[in-house]
Each structure stands twice: as structure tokens, then as C-alpha cells.
């Protein structure tokens, strides 16, 4: 990236100006992040907070690096990620058809509204003790909780998408006596897809979150358990490293879901509400 020194035309001057302001914005952003890290280091080392609560940034980095070389760490990541994804897919298979049905049929939507609201407001993680009674601390337990947690937001989003079909489109379809199957595939589904993709994106974040939470409480293998164990052993820097990993995982997975959502929407240029 070169800044033009000789400004022959006003166009160049304008471009140079916006490059300058973009540069200063990035510099400010880096400054904020650097400042936060420095603040972290200073507060951690000052002893204001217990060392086990906030280990210094430098120690966390060291712990993180060492984690990356351990097979057990990658096993944990795999367990969390695998559980989250499996739960997400299962939840999608269950929730999207229900959502579509409810979205297309006002009767179904109203009938299931209270149930969906209750499910949505319930913290699925709280079911962990009950489910552990049946299945013990195994993968199915974690999956059930993830599926429950992801399904309700996904149902809500799908309903929203399926309901959003303009009245005029519905009436046009009816006046042309279009058969339901065709209507479903060519009208309802494409209209609902953007909301469904949004729902999947939201569910992705929830899946990772609930997976980690279930591991923390239920002692199931994964990042959550690695974190809890490290903290119990007094290796709080390692625990924090796990926390950062969990955050990064969630961030990366959500970003991927966002990109997928955008890419999917690009194939459907007709959506411009």
C-alpha cells in the first residue's frame, strides 16, 4: 500500500485522504487492543485481584502455546466441536420442518406458540442433572441438551421466515391454483431460507456455548472440562487459555456460519425486503 506523494489529480487527493483515515482507524483499533492487553497484564500483576482469577496475559499466552502441542487438548477441542456440530445438525433436522409447518399454518403456529415460548425461555442446561440420571455423563446427554437449546430459537426463526411471505404472493399463488408442493418448493422455502440461515447462525453460537457449559457442569470431555480441571489443579493460566480457545472457537464457527449465510443468500437474488 503506497500513499501517492505527488497529487496530480483531485481524485488522487481524495483516495489518499480516505486511505489516510482508514489507516488512522486501524491504528486506533490496534491501539485499543494493545491498551487492553497492557491493562490486563498490569492489573494481573498488581495483585489487586487473586492470581487464580486473572492470570497475566503473558502467562496465558505461554500456557496456550503449550496446550497447542498436547494431544489431549486437541481431543478436547474435537469433543466440543464435534458435539456442537452433531447437536446442531440434529436440531436442524428436527426444528426446521416443525418451523416450516408452523410458519405455513397459522393454526399450527398458534397451537404450538406457548410450548415454543416455554422451550425458548428455558435454560436447557438445567436439564443436565435430569438427563444424567438416564444416560450418565456420556455424549448422548450432551447432545440432548444441545439439541434442545438449539431447536427452539431455530423453530422461531423458521416460523418468522415462513410467515414473512407477502400476502400478495400468497393470493397470486392461490388465484393461479398452484399446487401446494410446487408452492412450497418455489415460494415458501426460498422466502423462508434467509431467516432459516440466520437461525442456523444463531444456533451455531448456542451450540458451542451449551456444549462448553454442559462439559463444565457435567464433567463431560471437552474444552469446558479441560478448563475446569486446569483451574482445579491451580493452573489458572491454562484454564484461561482454554477460555480463550473456547471464545476463538465460537468466534470462528460463528464467522463461518455468517459467511455461509451470506453465500447462500447470494444465490437467491430475489430476496430484497
Amino acid at each position: 500500500m503506497t500513499l501517492s506523494v505527488t497529487l496530480r489529480r483531485t481524485g488522487e487527493a481524495r483516495r489518499a485522504g480516505s486511505e489516510r483515515s482508514k489507516l488512522s482507524r486501524v491504528a486506533a483499533q490496534i491501539g485499543v487492543i494493545a491498551g487492553a492487553i497492557i491493562l490486563w497484564e498490569v492489573i494481573a500483576r498488581s495483585g489487586v485481584l487473586p492470581a487464580s482469577l486473572l492470570p497475566p496475559f503473558s502467562e496465558v499466552v505461554v500456557a496456550l502455546v503449550s496446550l497447542l502441542g498436547q494431544a489431549s487438548f486437541w481431543g478436547d477441542v474435537g469433543a466440543t466441536l464435534g458435539g456442537a456440530m452433531l447437536g446442531l445438525v440434529t436440531s436442524a433436522v428436527i426444528a426446521i420442518p416443525i418451523g416450516l409447518l408452523a410458519g405455513l399454518s397459522p393454526f399450527v403456529e398458534r397451537s404450538t406458540r406457548i410450548l415454543v415460548d416455554i422451550g425458548r425461555s428455558f435454560p436447557s442446561i438445567a436439564l443436565l442433572p435430569v438427563i444424567i440420571l438416564f444416560y450418565g455423563t456420556t455424549l448422548p446427554t450432551k447432545l440432548i441438551v444441545i439439541v434442545l437449546a438449539c431447536s427452539f430459537p431455530l423453530i422461531v426463526q423458521t416460523i418468522y421466515g415462513a410467515r414473512g411471505i407477502e400476502e400478495s404472493i400468497i393470493e397470486t399463488a392461490r388465484s393461479y391454483r398452484i399446487r401446494f408442493r410446487l408452492y412450497f418448493l418455489r415460494v415458501a422455502l426460498p422466502t423462508a431460507t434467509p431467516s432459516i440461515m440466520t437461525g442456523l447462525r444463531l444456533a451455531t453460537t448456542v451450540a458451542v456455548l451449551v456444549a462448553v457449559g454442559a462439559e463444565v457442569i457435567g464433567g463431560l470431555p471437552g474444552i469446558g472440562q479441560g478448563l475446569a480441571q486446569a483451574q482445579l489443579d491451580g493452573a489458572s493460566a491454562t484454564a484461561f487459555a482454554y477460555f480463550v480457545v473456547a471464545g476463538t472457537l465460537g468466534f470462528v464457527v460463528t464467522r463461518l456460519a455468517e459467511l455461509l449465510e451470506a453465500r447462500f443468500l447470494r444465490w437467491r437474488p430475489s430476496d430484497n425486503d
Binding site: 483531485t10 487527493a13 481524495r14 485522504g17
Partner: protein
């Protein structure tokens, strides 16, 4: 509000003590010069319309006049006071009422809101707001929300707000552009009537030539890239105006044609016969 109402000349003295003076106003955005060396004076009690083609920087001009935007060079003054921030003596009515009335406040509250900033107690504010709403004929909707009203009524609320602000000078940015033609005529007459009753000094920006000629004492024509003052036309249609009769006079047609030609071709300036010096 019948269309065939004649609005008489102002009987009260103008409230404004001083003239609104613009000298050499230039406004540049980055490397794009929008306004170039504009000179303009609005005397106390005058109704001046600023006309020009769309995109001619008229809104920019109004922003500079109201103190919302500082000029790049040149000055805007009200008497001796430099206008480089909004003044208490100048009230603005914007084009888009949807963007200027607050949907979470009721109509009277919207009208009274600028007064709250002056520390006026609620009862007095409401009384002032109701008086202002009455003068625009909307006293009965005072407790409704703006979005419950039609477009023309909302713009009248915006006007009422400017009136309650009690400023001697009123700046209006294409205030009747967002309403239908019928409503526009009613609002034009409303403004004329209010100006006569309250002694207001008004500068109104518009792209509607008929409106400009009908309403004003003087029409300032701006055009070109960058925008300059092309002409300053005195409107000698008499001090009483009426939508049908005034617009049917030959003089109206002449003035209108002159302004229109100047806008279409900024290099043209009214011929000797059309000019009235």
C-alpha cells in the same frame, strides 16, 4: 381552509430586528465545491424563496444559513451576530417530517420539546404548544402521536413547532415537497397567513417555481456547478395573494417564465423587458 382565500399583506411590524446577511458563502466537501461565493440578504419581514434545480446544493445552503453547518469561507450573519451555530432567533422546518418529528412523543410534546431545553415548566410548555397548534389548525390532535396523522398534518406540526420556538426568522427546506398537490396549496396559504399575522421573516428553499413566485417578495435563483446566485428577482405581484387569481395574472406568468429559463440555462439572465429595475 378554502383554496380561494385571499391572503392579505402583513399588518404587523416584522419581529426580526436585523437582516440575515450572507456574504461570499462558499462550501466545499473534500475536493467538491458545492457553493461558490453566494451573496444574499433577507431583510426583516421579507419572504424570500430560493429556487434552483434539484441537487443544486440548496439544502447545503440552508444548513449554512441555519448554523447547522459552518461555511468553508464567507460569512452568514444575523445583524452583528455570526451564524456559526444554531441561534435562538432562527427556526428551521425540514423537508422530511418523518425524520424530524419524534414518534415516541405526542404531537404537543414534539411542538413543545425545544422549549423544554429552555427550562420552561411543563404546563407553560403545553399551553404554548396548544397555541401554536391552534394557529396551524391542529389543536384537536395535540394528544395523538405524529404517525397517526397524515403527511400534511405532520408537516403542519413541524411548522407549529417552529412557531412555538418564537423565532423571528423561519428557514424552510422544501417543506411542502413530501405532500400531495392539494395539501401543498393549503400549506402555502397557511405560511402566508402566519407570516402576515406574526410578522415573520421567511427564507424558503424549493424547486417548485410556481410556489416560489407565488409565496415570495423576492426570488433568489441559484444554479450551476458549483452553485451560484444567478438572479435576484423582485416579485411585484402585490401584497395580497390568492391561489387562483394571482397565478392567473400575466405578471405571474412572466416572472415564472423568467425564473424557469434561468434555471434551465444558468447563463441566461432575464431580458431587459422581463427585468423590473
Amino acid at each position: 381552509m378554502s383554496l380561494a382565500e385571499t391572503i392579505a399583506a402583513p399588518e404587523v411590524p416584522p419581529r426580526a430586528q436585523d437582516a440575515l446577511t450572507v456574504e461570499g458563502l462558499t462550501k466545499t466537501f473534500g475536493d467538491r465545491r458545492v457553493l461558490e461565493g453566494l451573496d444574499l440578504v433577507v431583510q426583516p419581514g421579507e419572504f424570500v424563496c430560493i429556487v434552483g434545480p434539484s441537487g443544486a446544493g440548496k439544502t447545503t445552503l440552508l444548513r449554512c444559513l441555519s448554523g447547522l453547518m459552518p461555511p468553508t469561507s464567507g460569512t452568514v450573519s444575523y445583524g452583528d451576530t455570526r451564524v456559526n451555530r444554531p441561534l435562538a432567533e432562527i427556526a428551521v422546518v425540514f423537508q422530511d417530517y418523518r425524520g424530524s418529528l419524534m414518534p415516541w412523543m405526542r404531537v404537543w410534546d414534539n411542538v413543545a420539546f425545544p422549549l423544554q431545553s429552555r427550562g420552561m415548566p411543563k404546563a407553560e410548555r403545553r399551553a404554548r404548544a396548544l397555541r401554536a397548534l391552534e394557529s396551524v389548525g391542529l389543536a384537536d390532535v395535540a394528544d395523538q402521536y405524529p404517525w397517526q396523522l397524515s403527511g400534511g398534518m405532520q408537516q403542519r406540526v413541524a411548522i407549529a413547532r417552529a412557531l412555538a420556538y418564537d423565532a423571528p426568522i423561519l428557514l424552510m427546506d422544501e417543506p411542502f415537497g413530501s405532500v400531495d398537490a392539494q395539501t401543498r396549496f393549503e400549506l402555502e396559504d397557511l405560511i402566508l397567513r402566519l407570516r402576515a399575522e406574526l410578522g415573520l421573516t421567511i427564507a424558503l428553499v424549493t424547486h417548485d417555481i410556481d410556489e416560489a413566485v407565488y409565496l415570495s417578495d423576492r426570488v433568489v435563483v441559484v444554479a450551476g456547478r458549483p452553485t451560484r446566485v444567478i438572479d435576484d428577482v423582485a416579485i411585484d405581484l402585490g401584497s395580497a395573494r390568492e391561489q387562483i387569481a394571482t397565478k392567473a395574472t400575466p405578471r405571474f406568468g412572466q416572472l415564472r417564465s423568467r425564473v424557469m429559463r434561468e434555471i434551465i440555462d444558468p447563463r441566461y439572465r432575464g431580458s431587459q423587458e422581463e427585468r423590473n429595475d
